[in-house]
Every structure is written in C-alpha cells, then in structure tokens.
C-alpha cells in the first residue's frame, strides 16, 4: 500500500513537472500551426527554425549575453567574495547585505533603475547596456555560491602554501581556487541560467535592433507564438538535460578516486574526463562566439543613414525591411513591443529616440495629448493617396485633423460562431446573453473589450463615461457570467478551431486565420455596432531621422509592399490599392477582412478616457469578475 502511494506520488510529480514540457515537445512536431489541432508529425519547424535568421540571431544574442555576463560576473563575484571574506565580521555582514539587494529587489525596479542610469549617462541602449545589466544582477548569485565554499575553505591551507614558499597569487590558484572551484562553477551556471531566463531587466535595458529570446518570444504574444519557438524550446530543454547529464558524470568518478586505491586514474578515463571538462565547454564557447560574430556581422550597421522602427511583434514582413534597405540604403534598426502600455513609457522617457512607432488609436490620442508626436509632412508621403478615405475619417476620432498618423492595420471586434453549433443566423450581441448557449460562450478577458461589447449592445457609446450606463453594463455582464464558458484572450482562436465553443468574441484579424483552419466558423459584426481599431504609424517628437521615417512610412504605403505585409500579418489593410492587388478573390472580397462601409458605420474606435475613468472601468470589471 505504502509502496503504491509512493509510486503514485512520484507519478504525480513527474506529471506536474514534465507534462508542460512534454506538451511543448509534442507540439513542436505538430504540422498544424495551431495548438488545437494535430495536423500530423513533422520536423519542418526545426528546419525553418534554423533558416529563420531573426530567431537564430536572437538565440545567439541570448547565448552570448548569457555567456559573457556569466563569465564577467563570475570573475567579479569571485574576487568580491574573497574581499568580503577577509573583512571583519561587521563590515562583512554589511557588504553581504548590500550585494544581496539586487537579487532580492524586484526585477522591475532593477530594470527601470538601470534604464534610468543608462539614460543619465547618455548611453545608447543596446548590447552593452543589456550586458552591463545582466552582469549586475548576476554578481550576487556568484557571490552567493562562492561565499559558502570560501567559508568552508581552511584558511590554514592558504597559509600552509605561503609557509612552503608560495607567493600569495600562486597559493591562491594552487590551493584556494581548487577548493572553491565547485562554488565558482555552480555560480557561473546559475548566472548563465539567470541571464538566459531574464525578461524584465532585459526589456528595460535593451535598445532597438537587439532582442534576447525572452523579449523576442514575448513580443510575439499578440500574434500568437510560432511553432518554431516550440522547436527551439525543445532543443534548449534537451541541451540542458544533456549538460545535466554531463555534470552528473563527475561525482561518481570522484568517489572512485577517494576510495584510496593506490593507482593513477587510467589513461582512457583521464582523456575522457579531459574531453568532458575541457574540450566540450571550449567547443561550445567557440561555436557560440563564432555564431554570434557571424550574425552580428550580418546585421552590422553599415552606413550612418538609419531609421529606428518600433513596432508590434510579428507585425511586418521581414523581407519588406530588406527591400527597403536595398532600395534606399537606409539601415533599419528594428525593435518590437508587445502592448501599447509597454511602448508608451519607452517613447515617453526618451531613452531611445525612435523614428517610427505603430501605436493603436487610443494610444495615439494620448501621445498627441502629451505632445509626444511630430506632424507628418504629407509632401514626403505621397503614397498616402492609397489609404482609403474611410480610414482617414475613422482616424479623426483620435487624430482630429489627420496630422499625425498613417493607418497601417485595422480590424473590428465581432462574434465568431460555429455554423454547426448554432441554428439561427447570428447578427446581434444578444446571443451572448442567450441561455441556449450556456457554457459555449467565450468572452474576451479585457475590460474595454468586455464593456465595449455590452455598451454597444445596450445602444451606448463604447467610450461612455456615464456612471448609470456603466453600471447597467456591469449588471448585464454579471448576469452573463453563468453562461460564459471562459474569459480568455488568445485561446478564443484555438478553442473555436477545436470546436470547443459555439460563440466567441474575437478580433477580425484572427477570424480570417481561424476560418482557414476550420471552415465551419463564421465571423459577424453585430448590427448594434462594435469597436473598430486602427494601428497607425506615427513619428515621435524626439525622432532623429524624421526624413527617413517619412520615407519608411511612404514605402509601407506602396501597394506592393502593403500587400506583402497584409499577406504576412493577415490583418485588414486600409490600403485600397493593395487590396486591388490581392490575387485570391475570396480574400479580396472577404467580408471579414474588408467589410462594407455600412457595416462599419456603427463602429467606434476606443478613446483614451483619462486615468480617472480608467480606474472606474477597472473597478467595475473587478466587481464583475469577483461576483
């Protein structure tokens, strides 16, 4: 019985610890892009992973930063430990406390303060700043693992070495160093892992044109994580497993030596050990460094002419950048963000002077209000003529005189439903309150979307700040709760593809893709009206290459380029000329991608309602969620 329980316990542990990783590994061999469907076994993601320069160069960035920061932190941390160890007790406790602070400090605080420091010293955000930041937060981990070893070390052995005629440095390397080496190595590995893991601090200290894996993956959340990333994660997991295996090979050998048998380790064993402890790590270092230099040289900033672009993750076809560089000779430094709220403070702080940014409607309004944007000289953007007038008109909601923004992508919020699971034509938000669909409804888990939908259903503006209207919406949302299967964000897409729900609130951009995967799905903009969102290019006030920025925007408005981007992103394009070039008739005439103007007439863009109203919305949403 006890034995059985033990095994059960073990099984549970294995399941909880490794099930997520197993899922990831399985998905990395799934030939379907969505995680809801098994499309058969494939190795194609692994192939495309190694062909994807963007991913490979971020991988190398990550590894080089991890390796360099861990190495430097190990040297500094070890020296610091030796220094601290020889201090008197009071000072030592104090120093240990001080060095531990970066480790205990919230990452976000460390990240922001490093960023502010770099700005204060007028450093350009980039590789160097990330490296410095990583070294900084790695040092405490090294000290943490070296100090205990140093404490264990008998000070007398060091003195014994001196006594036998060794100079202090010789004595350190011959006697103390081998004793603390395990601590140094584990400190190095810890630092290496910490650096690989880090997202928050890297996020704040990175500059345009450089990404580590964590920031790169995170910038992709809006568009969904690519299967190549699953493949990469699988490879990294296997590598770590392999390294662990190598590390664990060693202790067994040591025990063997300490048995006290009077003989030297055999030559074969010795060679083997040398291979494991010296050759393998050395090869790794060489490969990583060489790879890094290779990718670095490929992305080398050549000319002085450049344009710094700050865009959503996965929101532009990489080929487009190559074409632009080739045609104009202007180097594109490209950085990605994941939400408007993350982008805003980076632009506002002025840490990096971006030349072109792509915020959403309400955020553009906020940036205009805070005087962060520069007017666009339309003479330099003749291709603006390709942008449909409808979208320029819609833009007036946040850019009243069309002075600051050039629409890039847009979409609506609507209902995605499964034709086989509903028995009536759906054209109204009212289905979301229909008890027939209990437990088959997916709601967006975001304040403005949930309230927007409800306010529209009630016939109000989705930018309402009227407390009575908002309370009415709140009560309706509470009433809806028992019917809702789940409040989700990304999963609407996958759950709908997997036939897990009948009705979901979704963005139109996702709808086209889901329809491709599951033809039974249909998208509709309800007759009460909905949200239309527009992401537009703007030029910040502190841009250093305004002319290049305008050239870049103009280039993106060219029909062939806009088409390329449309095909890559699959979100609706406001570029009428580009739409004409779409070869696939079903898409060109897709009601989802390009709804009639009449359908859009009831749609509104979100506006920035001010901090106070934001708080009201959040409070009401909290009430809904907690009821």
């Amino acid at each position: 019985m006890k034995k059985k329980l033990q095994n059960l316990y073990l099984l549970l542990i294995v399941i909880f610890l490794y099930a997520p990783i197993m899922t990831l590994m399985v998905l990395s061999f799934n030939s379907s892009r969505t995680r809801a469907k098994w499309g058969g076994f494939t190795g194609k993601w692994y192939v495309s992973l190694f062909q994807d320069e963007a991913i490979m160069s971020t991988l190398y960035n990550t590894l080089i930063i991890a390796l360099l920061s861990a190495l430097i932190a190990t040297v500094i941390g070890t020296l610091a430990s030796i220094g601290i160890q020889s201090m008197n007790r009071k000072f030592r406790t104090f120093m240990l406390g001080v060095t531990n602070i970066p480790m205990l400090n919230a990452d976000i605080v460390t990240g922001v303060s490093m960023m502010l420091l770099f700005i204060a010293f007028r450093m350009t955000m980039g590789f160097t700043t990330i490296l410095i930041a990583h070294i900084t937060f790695n040092i405490p981990y090294v000290i943490l693992s070296v100090m205990p070893k140093l404490k264990q070390t008998n000070r007398r052995t060091y003195e014994a070495a001196l006594d036998l005629g060794a100079s202090p440095i010789y004595a350190f390397f011959k006697v103390v160093f081998p004793d603390i080496l395990p601590g140094i190595l584990s400190g190095f590995l810890l630092a290496f892992t910490m650096s690989l893991d880090d997202f928050v601090i890297t996020h704040f200290t990175k500059g345009p044109g450089i990404d580590t894996l964590s920031t790169k993956i995170y910038s992709e959340v809006r568009k969904g994580i690519r299967p190549e990333i699953y493949a990469l994660s699988t490879l990294m997991f296997v590598t770590v497993l392999f390294l662990l295996f190598l590390v664990n090979l060693k202790p067994e050998k040591e025990v063997h030596e300490k048995n006290g048998t009077i003989r030297k380790p055999s030559r074969a064993r010795h060679t083997m050990r040398l291979v494991v402890t010296r050759v393998v790590p050395a090869l790794l270092v060489i490969v990583i460094t060489a790879g890094g230099f290779f990718y670095n040289s490929k992305t080398k900033i050549s000319g002085s002419e450049k344009v710094i672009v700050y865009n959503w993750g996965e929101y532009l076809d990489p080929d487009v950048l190559d074409i632009f560089e080739e045609e104009t000779g202007i180097q594109v430094v490209y950085e990605e963000y994941e939400t408007n709220e993350i982008m805003y403070p980076k632009v506002q702080s002025g840490a990096i002077s971006y030349d072109v940014v792509c915020p959403s409607d309400y955020m553009i309004q906020r940036m205009i209000e805070n005087d962060l944007l520069d007017e666009i000289n339309w003479d330099n953007v003749p291709n603006i003529k390709n942008i449909g007038q409808t979208y320029m008109d819609q833009s007036k909601a946040f850019d009243p005189e069309n002075k600051y923004s050039v629409p890039y992508c847009w979409g609506t919020v609507g209902i995605l439903y499964n034709k086989t699971m509903v028995d009536e034509p759906i054209d109204s938000w009212s289905v979301l309150w229909d008890p027939k669909y209990k437990d088959s409804i997916l709601m967006q888990d975001s304040v403005r979307d949930a309230f927007g939908v409800t306010l529209k259903y009630l016939g109000y503006s989705l930018n309402s700040t009227d407390l009575d209207e908002l309370n009415e919406a709140k009560n309706l949302l509470i009433k809806q709760k028992p019917l809702v299967q789940a409040y989700v964000v990304d999963q609407v897409r996958d759950k709908m593809i997997g036939n897990e729900a009948a009705i979901g609130v979704i963005y139109s951009g996702e709808a086209i893709y889901t329809q491709k995967e599951n033809p039974n799905l249909e998208y509709v903009i309800p007759k009460e009206g909905s949200n239309i969102w527009i992401d537009s290019w703007v030029i910040p006030k502190n841009a250093e290459h305004k002319e290049n920025a305008e050239k870049f925007i103009n280039f993106l408005c060219r029909p062939d380029i806009a088409l390329k981007n449309f095909e890559y992103i699959t979100y609706s394009t406001p570029n009428e000329a580009a739409r004409e070039l779409i070869e696939d008739e079903s898409i060109r005439n897709s009601k989802i991608a390009f709804p009639d103007a009449s359908e859009l007439s009831g749609c509104e863009t979100f506006k920035f309602l001010g901090d106070k109203n934001d708080a009201v919305y959040n409070e009401l949403w909290r009430e809904v969620k907690s009821k």
Binding site: N154, R156, T157, E159, A160, A161, L162, D163, L164, G165, A166, S167, P168, Y170, A171, K174, V175, P178, D179, E257, K258, N259, G260, I262, R263, K264
Partner: protein, 357 residues
C-alpha cells in the same frame, strides 16, 4: 651551549583592546626542542604566527640567525609550520602535497622524487604517495603534514598543537615519533601546546605563558618541581596551592600548622604561596602527622588513588597508592623538600588568574 638561533625582542601584539602579547622577550637556541605552553588565549599561538610571518607584531623585533625578519613575508622565511589541523591540500595526492614546496623552489624531478621517498620513509608511510589526504587517518595525515614541512629542510619547524585532534593513544605514539624525528633531523622545534603532559614529555625547554606574559622558562623538571608562581604550579600537574606565611627561614605556616621546609630568604612572617604536589603528601596515622584530617572523597585512578582530606577547613588533594576509605581519620605529613615556596605576584597584571583550557 649552541648559539641563539631566534631572538624575540620586546614583541607586543594586540587585537583591538585585547592585549595578547606584552613586551615579550625570548630566545631559542639551535637544535632546541622548545615548547610554548599555556591555556588557550595565553598568546602562544600568536607568538608562533609571528614567527611564521602570518602576523605582524605591533612593536618589537624577531631576529633570525642575526637578521631582522620581523616584516619578512611568510614565503621568504627559512622556517616551516605544521598546522593545527594539518592543512593538507585535499585535491592533491600525498606526493604532490610533499612536493609542493620543492616545486616552488624549482628542484629537479629526481631530487623531488628522492625527497618524497625519504620523507615518507621518515614518517613511516612508504607507498602512500598516490593516495589522497582524505583517505588517511588523522595520525597519518599529521605525519604527512610533518613530512611536507621537513622536506624543505627548514632550520626551524614550528608546530601548532599538531597532536590536538588525535586520540590519546595516537597522541602518545606521535610524541615519541616527534622526538625521534627531531633527533634524526637535528633541527630546532618550536612546539605550541596547552597539554602540559605533552610538554613535559618532549621538550628540552618549556616556556609557560599566560595572558601574554612568560610565567617561567625552564627544563621540564624545573617547571614541574620548582614552579615559580601559583599559576605555573596550578597549570603543571595537580597541586595544592596555599596562602601561607613564611614564619622564618625553613619554617612555613600552612593553614595554621607549621611545616618545616628547605626554603630560605623570604624574610620573616611574610605572606607567600606554598605548593605541595598531591603525590608528595603522605597520609599517616592521625597522631603521627603534622596535621589531622578526615578523608572526604575517594576515587580510583588506575595508578593511584585520589583522595580529598579535610584538615583545618581546607581540602587537601592527595595521590597515594595506599587506600583510606571515606571517613577515616588520617595524619598529614610532608617532607620539607616537597614544599615549594613562591613569592606572591607583585603586580595585578602579572597575577595569573582564570585558567581555562
């Protein structure tokens, strides 16, 4: 008499407010086996570390073979240390441990091999060269530590409580081993210990220290038989130490009874310390003793019995091969030459208090 090899002149050392050595003067002769003996905290280890170069004295000089080496780095000194807990290099083999110093000096491989062989033979550990220190017993490790030190042919070997971590039997074996080594090598040993028996067994000269002061310097016999003050008497072996009054030459009043003794020159009716070793007290029939008492405690110690006798309100410690049961009335007799009379310490600093081991 051989020459002075080391001369320690007026050395003082303090840590913070704690004065560890106070104006200490001491010389060590060539070929001497000198032991620094004292309770922990008496400054003996500090003195040894000053000799080894691991500490700098606040004032004073260390003269070695006529040269001032006070501020010379440890690795430049012609002496080697055997540390308290051996301080072997655990990641090196025994051979590598022993060769450590020789390699630094750039000796040839064949010279080093010879030396390793010789040293291991000297400490009776032949064939151990490829083993690691962790696989050796405490006594073996200790001998390796000695071997590692002596292959460098130092003029002086400093030993810091080298036997402290060993058990009794091993300790006794090692004591003989050390004496043998010292005789074979013909070098000077400076030995630090708080174990008085160890000191008495091995030394040519014992330096008894307490609270940074030298209390007495002498041969083991001198120290044992003629302690110069109450501290030395108490520290070396078991003793009965009395506040006594020197009535006149050759007569001392101890707890009210007058004992004939052999000491002269202390004046008349002067307060003194009187020391009587427990084994020097003869228990006789009540009427035959100088003083009457009753046995209050009795313990069998193997070689002898240890008894406490209450006489004139004082507990007398007695070692005897004869046994007197508790409650027996006995007489106390002490031969005159077994009573050691000592001057009372003159200053408070000099006074030896608080013996802790």
């Amino acid at each position: 008499m051989p020459n002075k090899l080391i001369d320690i002149v007026g050395v003082s050392k303090s840590y913070g407010d704690n004065l560890v050595l106070d104006d200490l003067n001491l010389y060590i002769r060539e070929n001497e086996f000198l032991t620094l003996l004292g309770p922990s905290g008496c400054g003996k280890t500090t003195l040894l570390r000053i000799l080894g170069g691991f500490e700098n004295p606040d004032s004073g000089k260390v003269i070695f073979d006529g040269k001032d080496i006070t501020s010379l780095a440890p690795n430049k000194r012609q002496l080697n240390t055997v540390f308290q807990k051996y301080a072997l290099f655990t990641h090196m083999t025994i051979a590598e441990n022993i060769a450590f110093g020789l390699k630094i000096k750039g000796k040839s491989k064949s010279y080093i091999d010879d030396k390793i062989h010789y040293a291991l033979k000297l400490v009776n550990l032949e064939g151990y060269q490829n083993r690691y220190p962790d696989s050796l017993s405490g006594g073996q490790q200790q001998r390796i530590a000695i071997a590692r030190a002596i292959v460098n042919e130092p003029k002086v070997l400093l030993l810091d409580e080298p036997l402290g971590a060993l058990d009794l039997k091993l300790r006794q074996d090692m004591q003989y081993e050390l004496i043998r080594l010292k005789n074979e090598l013909g070098i000077t040993f400076i030995y630090v210990t708080h174990d008085q028996e160890e000191a008495l067994t091995m030394s040519d000269t014992i330096v008894v220290m307490n609270q940074g002061y030298i209390q007495q310097i002498g041969t083991p016999e001198d120290i044992y038989n003629e302690p110069e003050n109450a501290f030395v008497a108490d520290f070396i072996g078991d003793s009965n130490i009395f506040n006594a009054i020197m009535v006149r030459d050759k007569l001392v009043n101890i707890v009210g009874a007058e004992f004939p003794c052999v000491d002269t020159g202390f004046g008349t009716n002067k307060p003194v310390d009187a020391v009587i070793r427990p084994e020097d007290i003869d228990l006789v029939k009540p009427e035959e003793g100088t003083l009457k008492g009753v046995v209050t405690h009795l313990i069998f110690k193997g070689v002898h019995y240890e008894m406490e006798v209450l006489a004139n309100n004082y507990e007398w410690l007695v070692h005897s091969t004869d046994m007197f049961p508790v409650g027996t009335e006995v007489g106390i007799h002490v031969d005159p030459f077994d009573i050691q009379i000592m001057k009372k310490p003159e200053s408070e600093d000099e006074e030896a208090v608080g013996i802790e081991e």
